[in-house]
């Protein structure tokens, strides 16, 4: 509890500093006028107080209670908590499925062949690919940071699963009539209430999971790296990956050794489609003109060729 309130205070301090910075920036933007405002919109840094979770994989003991608590809170098919102590599930690397929002996997540290346990769930991206890909707006990024799904409009096309860089959304393939896409909700129904933390964080007995404001957690993560020289890889996974994620990871061994992709870079996935969508409007406006021009030109040339001689025209390659 003490630590929690400390974090809150740090958060407030942080926020004020940020707020002052933002104020200065806004002032500058106001002076510069419209153009720089447009740039500012593109650089929207996210809602200030959004939450995150810091996962310290060096602390996780692989008890899988988070899995149990997740199932319990989200009313997913569950088993007695005792059965989660079964270590044989670690023999295979698992992923999220319908009815499983989170899984803990075991990876082996090749240096000392000790197990490293890594929890996997929706990363709640800052710039979620699923949100931009959904053609019925079934996904939404909330100011709290959660990426939530609205089943009432979902068509079941599974494009969200195609674009998710972390392979998180799952589909109820065995549901013939009303299949849902399922994924971690960040316990939105808990965290949106004052003092609420996700069920998995709440149950974690070793505080491997830490819930808080994302900005504070990033600071905390870097502090841990600094204060424990040699313990961690000097990188907070999720700080910048695909433009940043709400869930952040610390690790003692390279992240690609614990099942987290390191080839994703900072590429903001929704931006990848933007150039195309811009080109669409260009085509929309210019094609009618271009093709009318071609039409007029072909009319003119056919008239002149008719006047010259009755030849059969050969068609040259036509392309876009």
């Amino acid at each position: 509890m003490l630590r929690k309130s400390k974090v809150r205070i740090a958060a407030m301090r942080m926020n004020r500093r940020k707020f002052l910075g933002r104020l200065a920036a806004t002032g500058g933007a106001a002076l510069l006028g419209r153009a720089s405002q447009a740039i500012a919109i593109d650089n929207f840094p996210g809602y200030r107080d959004r939450y995150g979770v810091l996962v310290d994989t060096t602390l996780c003991i692989g008890c899988r209670r988070c899995e149990w608590a997740c199932n319990e809170w989200n009313k997913l098919p569950n088993k007695p908590i005792k059965s989660f102590e079964d270590k044989t599930v670690f023999d295979t690397v698992r992923r999220t499925h319908a009815g499983t929002f989170t899984v803990v996997n075991r990876h082996i540290d090749s240096n000392d062949s000790k197990p490293v346990y890594v929890k996997k769930q929706c990363m709640h991206c800052e710039e979620p690919a699923c949100v931009s890909a959904c053609f019925v707006k079934a996904f939404r990024k909330t100011p709290e940071g959660a990426v939530v799904y609205d089943a009432s409009v979902c068509v079941g096309c599974r494009y969200c699963m195609i674009v998710c860089p972390f392979d998180i959304p799952a589909f109820e393939y065995d549901e013939p009539l009303t299949p849902l896409v399922t994924k971690c909700t960040f316990c939105f129904d808990r965290i949106s209430k004052e003092g609420g933390v996700p069920a998995c964080v709440n149950i974690c007995p070793v505080e491997s999971l830490r819930f808080g404001r994302r900005a504070d957690l990033i600071k905390l993560a870097h502090e841990r790296i600094r204060n424990n020289p040699g313990k961690y890889i000097n990188h907070v996974y999720g700080e910048h990956e695909v433009g940043g994620t709400s869930w952040l990871y610390l690790s003692a061994i390279p992240f690609d050794k614990i099942g987290l992709r390191t080839d994703l870079g900072r590429t903001i996935i929704p931006k990848l489609g933007k150039t195309f969508l811009t080109a669409v409007s260009v085509v929309l406006v210019s094609w009618p003109v271009l093709f009318t021009g071609l039409y007029v030109f072909s009319r003119m040339s056919s008239k002149s060729s008719r006047e010259n001689m009755p030849s059969t025209k050969m068609k040259a390659g036509k392309d876009g």
Partner: protein, 404 residues
């Protein structure tokens, strides 16, 4: 509606091709029909099974491989092959290449049916197929490339239906409606060109958002352009393949067409296809250069990539050129078929083989997915034949002037 003066009933004349019901049934006892029947006897219960039991029991789709052949083949290939409609529409209406007139109606019909059955395939694939109109009426995900596709495919289907309408009303002998749609058809064609350009490329653009999953040799910022240009080659080749098949199958309907003339037109289409294929090849090379993935060419996926672009883009480009140079219509027809196969290979590569290339679990279709796809293709061919046997698609209706 004025009926034909003979003693035949309307149904006999329009539906049973002027035969009595018994004669009509008898005339349908052919080898090709029995093959079609055989496929459908298996496919239709399988289709029912998919709807009753869901995607899980009927497909090999999974959380890691959410898209299979219903997207890769039915949707992506179906739409690419339907490009003949807009390619011929452009050549005929915009560029004023009037000699291509004999290709226009069949291409538009192929296009319409291609899209229609692509949507049919999609219905099998969608988890909640009954919500298909949601992006149009209920919830608008305007940032999605898929949203663009949904709208364009819907609008384009309507466009192609309008383009097809004159033939329907000629068949029904409804002069007024025919004239009305005849005038509308030109506008629909032009609007359709716009829509086609956009969604042919949009189908490629879908994959822009999956850079970590599509193999770098296939993933490219140029992928929308690849899809568009290859759709143009697919459209042209499909017109060649489809017309040469039609001229064999519906021999009596094309008796009036001079075969020498038809062959010359086929060759000139081949000439255009050759040029576009070369463009496509150049773009593919630029794509590799752009993402600087030369080093990947000499890996297993690299060989597969080269197999595709050398064997199914560059080779047909040269074969078409060869066929044109030596006026060899057989070479042109064979090459068109090769190009069509190349398009299938490309779409399957992008959607299935090179997709999730680094995943632990790979996808291959279940027998039910294959059977349903075969069933859909069979239905499409039957629909095409049913229409061509009745409506003036391959020939001009004698009662209606062809004042294109």
């Amino acid at each position: 509606m004025d009926r034909s003066p003979e003693s035949l009933s309307w149904v006999q004349e329009k539906i049973f091709l002027g035969k009595t019901f018994r004669e009509y049934l008898k005339s349908n006892l052919t080898l090709s029909n029995s093959i079609a029947a055989l496929i459908l006897i298996v496919a239709i219960p399988t289709m029912a099974y998919r709807f009753v039991r869901g995607l899980g029991p009927s497909t090999n789709l999974s959380d890691i491989n959410p898209w299979g052949i219903w997207i890769g083949i039915d949707m992506l290939c179906g739409v690419a092959f339907a490009a003949g409609g807009f390619v011929m529409g452009t050549a005929f209406y915009i560029l004023g290449l009037k000699e291509y007139r004999i290709f226009v109606r069949p291409a538009i019909l192929t296009g319409f049916l291609g899209y229609l059955f692509a949507v049919v395939g999609l219905i099998f694939d969608l988890g909640r197929y009954y919500r298909l109109p949601y992006p149009m009426f209920v919830s608008f995900g305007v940032t999605s490339i898929m949203f663009l596709i949904a709208w364009h495919v819907a609008l384009y289907l309507a466009c192609q239906f309008v383009e097809w309408c004159p033939a329907i009303f000629e068949w029904l002998n409804m002069r007024k409606a025919r004239q009305w749609f005849y005038r509308l058809a030109v506008g629909a064609t032009i609007f359709g060109i716009l829509l086609s350009t956009l969604h042919q490329s949009a189908l490629g653009a879908i994959f822009l958002l999956a850079p970590g999953k599509l193999h770098p040799l296939w993933y490219s910022e140029l992928i929308p352009l690849f899809f568009f240009v290859s759709a143009v080659t697919a459209g042209m080749s499909m017109v060649i393949v489809e017309s040469s098949l039609s001229h064999r199958v519906f021999r009596n309907q094309v008796a009036h067409i001079d075969h020498g003339h038809f062959d010359r037109l086929t060759i000139s289409l081949g000439k255009a296809a050759s040029a576009v294929l070369l463009t496509y090849f150049a773009l593919k090379i630029i794509g590799v250069a752009h993402s600087n993935s030369w080093n990947l060419l000499f890996t297993h996926y690299g060989y597969w990539f080269m197999f595709e672009i050398l064997g199914f883009i560059l080779l047909p480009a040269f074969l078409f050129a060869y066929g044109v140079r030596w006026k060899n219509v057989r070479v042109v027809r064979f090459t068109a078929l090769l190009t069509v196969l190349g398009i299938i290979l490309n779409r399957v590569n992008v959607c299935i083989i090179a997709f999730n290339w680094n995943a632990a679990v790979r996808y291959y279709p279940s027998w039910m997915e294959v059977v349903i796809t075969l069933g859909i293709i069979t239905l499409e061919i039957l629909a095409f034949r049913w229409i061509v046997n009745r409506m003036p698609i391959l020939y001009d209706h004698p009662k209606f002037e062809s004042s294109h």
